[in-house]
Symmetry: C2
Subunit: 347 residues, 2 copies
DNA sequence: TACGTCTGTCGAAGCGCTTCAATTCGGTTC
DNA sequence: GAACCGAATTGAAGCGCTTCGACAGACGTA
């Protein structure tokens, strides 16, 4: 392994000069800088991460804590993780992957040992067990998702209340008066994951304002579950013509079932999905949908955490970065799965 | 931050004693050990990762390089990653998440800087650009997937040749004489990702032995693509009664299409899927499938890399761990999507 | 000419840990 | 009772980098 000292000798300068060339924290004359840079290249020098972390007390690593469970739409998680990793690299940081496995203690271990400079937490629950640790720790963190109490926290999430409102609004404008919200698996609600509840709240709120009737039903991610849920909905509210689907994994089954029952989409039933765009476009019918901006969430999480890391880096100088809740506004894309409500013997 | 020196003072011993208690590399008397451990607990001491890495020249971090693209079944990638992370923690290691973004240079950067002690590479291509770097680097690595030339490499993968053979065998036993393999998207083949080719090879091989006719067609992951592919297959080989499906994302569309065409599964068409068990069980028909053992692959990758890390850690003493290709034997689970071939005017 | 100023570079301290050689000490052994 | 032993513990030397204060020299100013 080539060390900084060897580079210095090779370039005929002192070690500190090399260090300053690398960090840019002091002005170095053009010729000296070039000489050093040439030596670095010729020797194939790579700074030792451990030594750097020790001397500067910053590891340049951001920890990302993922959920271990896979009852929620996995590709979204994956996209967020990849976006976090990619964006972190743009800021010259690396990402440490933690699973929920280890529990809240992982937070302490990782930042307490200086392994990571900051944390990004995914799959935040309303009363998340990790929150107390974040509060007592001086380390920067950003949550993806919204807990019940956001005091002193920085969070980023899709605005699910607005998402719910938007879906209802779109259906209402098309004349639908009876709408069903096909939600996540019951376990997701029991865990109080926030986003599911917030969607319902938004749906109910706007439905109330627009005089639309709403039925909400959780649904597991299987064909049978979807079949049962759909049957129950149509039995309880035969006039239901608009569907908002939040559990992406039942979209395929739902389309199959409607077709089997002779209900045409969108003539007899309109569907608004809440899912990534790729999912909305790959089924047998291109779905009107509100996109889950997974990549944007991951990217914003890193961008929100970076100023904090930098502020903390200056020995705590550089005034603290204010906390911030960033709700990404939903975008609804109209595709082929929504249309005017059927007149259905009412008109 | 509490340091080791403070723990030593608090416990009334020297720093080295505390270090040895922590590492267990020297015998420490019972009473001393307990005193030190109490001090550690009382002070809430956490060893500094950077200092440890610098002094021991091991970071206790394993880098995991994921593909950036998402044209292959994402949940499998995710499961592998989570299994890697979980298993690594069982060995007291952490995982650094790298994306393909940075290219082969990431390998050099990460192990060259001592950021990670070892690498696990996913989504290996037959002629992978990262292989030369692995060969010249003294750092341990394990590949998930099989390149063309495995000399000097340790790899773990599902045995896709055996998988192909197994699928054909199962269908042949049921009397199917014409079989179609619905493969991955064309891009996957163009990239020479190995597993896709190996599956075909296995299928053809066994089909030849058993006198079964085979048609192979790549297929994108959309409903339309599946519709087209299925139509073409049935046009070219109307007698096709057995299907092997490798692109998991078209399973749903495929079942819909067959149903629409009045082909019953498994009476008129038998389907063997190559996919994770969760996918096989959640559609409208429980699918006979060969499982993709994502979690096992992730776990084994870590278990294969650990002895190498430990051997390298002993200053290169401890004889080198031999290279090894570990092919996980496929397991086929019979479910409801396969049955006896139709007699079809032949009998 | 003498002074302060600024720029570019250097020397040295030290980050918190591991590890090796050295030391202490109670217990054997002859 | 001297010589020896192994087990437990310690001291000190780094690991490779960052960073701070010092300093030499070039420059402008009085």
């Amino acid at each position: 392994m080539v060390t900084l000292a060897e580079v210095a000798r090779h370039a005929g300068v002192s070690a500190s000069t090399v260090s300053y060339v690398l960090s840019g924290k002091r002005t170095i004359s053009q010729p000296t800088r070039e000489r050093v840079e040439r030596s670095i290249r010729e020797l194939g020098y790579l700074p030792n991460a451990g030594a750097r972390a020790l001397a500067s007390s910053r590891s340049n690593i951001i920890a990302l804590m993922m959920p271990l469970r896979t009852d929620m739409y996995v590709p979204v998680m994956m996209d967020i993780a990849l976006a976090v990793a990619t964006t972190a690299r743009e800021h010259d940081r690396d990402v440490l992957l933690l699973t929920g496995q280890e529990g809240p203690a992982a937070v302490r271990r990782v930042v307490g040992s200086g392994l990571a400079d900051a944390m990004i937490l995914m799959d935040v629950e309303l009363q998340d067990a990790r929150l107390p640790l974040l509060h007592e720790s001086p380390h920067p963190s950003v949550l993806i998702g919204l807990p019940a109490d956001t005091t002193g926290l920085t969070c980023v999430d899709l605005d699910f209340v607005a998402t719910g409102r938007l879906c209802v609004e779109h259906l209402a404008e098309l004349g639908h008066r009876e709408v069903a919200l096909i939600g996540e698996a019951a376990a997701v609600y029991e865990r109080h994951t926030g986003f599911a509840e917030r969607t319902i709240a938004g749906v109910r709120e706007r439905a109330g304002e627009l005089g639309v009737r709403v039925l909400h039903r959780p649904c597991e991610g299987s064909y049978e579950a979807m079949a049962g849920t759909l049957a129950r909905i149509l039995q309880e509210r035969p006039g239901t013509s608009g569907f908002i689907v939040q559990n992406e994994s039942v979209l395929g089954p739902m389309l199959s079932l409607l077709r089997q029952q002779g209900r045409a989409v969108p003539e007899d039933a309109s569907i608004v999905a809440i899912c990534p765009d790729e999912v909305a476009t790959q089924g047998s019918v291109a779905l009107t949908s509100v996109a889950i901006p997974a990549r944007e969430m991951g990217r914003r999480a890193v961008e929100l955490v970076m100023p904090k890391v930098e502020a903390a880096g200056r020995g705590g100088h550089g005034r603290p970065v204010p906390d911030r809740i960033e709700l990404i506004p939903p975008r609804l894309t109209v595709r082929a799965s929504t249309g005017p409500a059927p007149v259905a013997g009412r008109g």
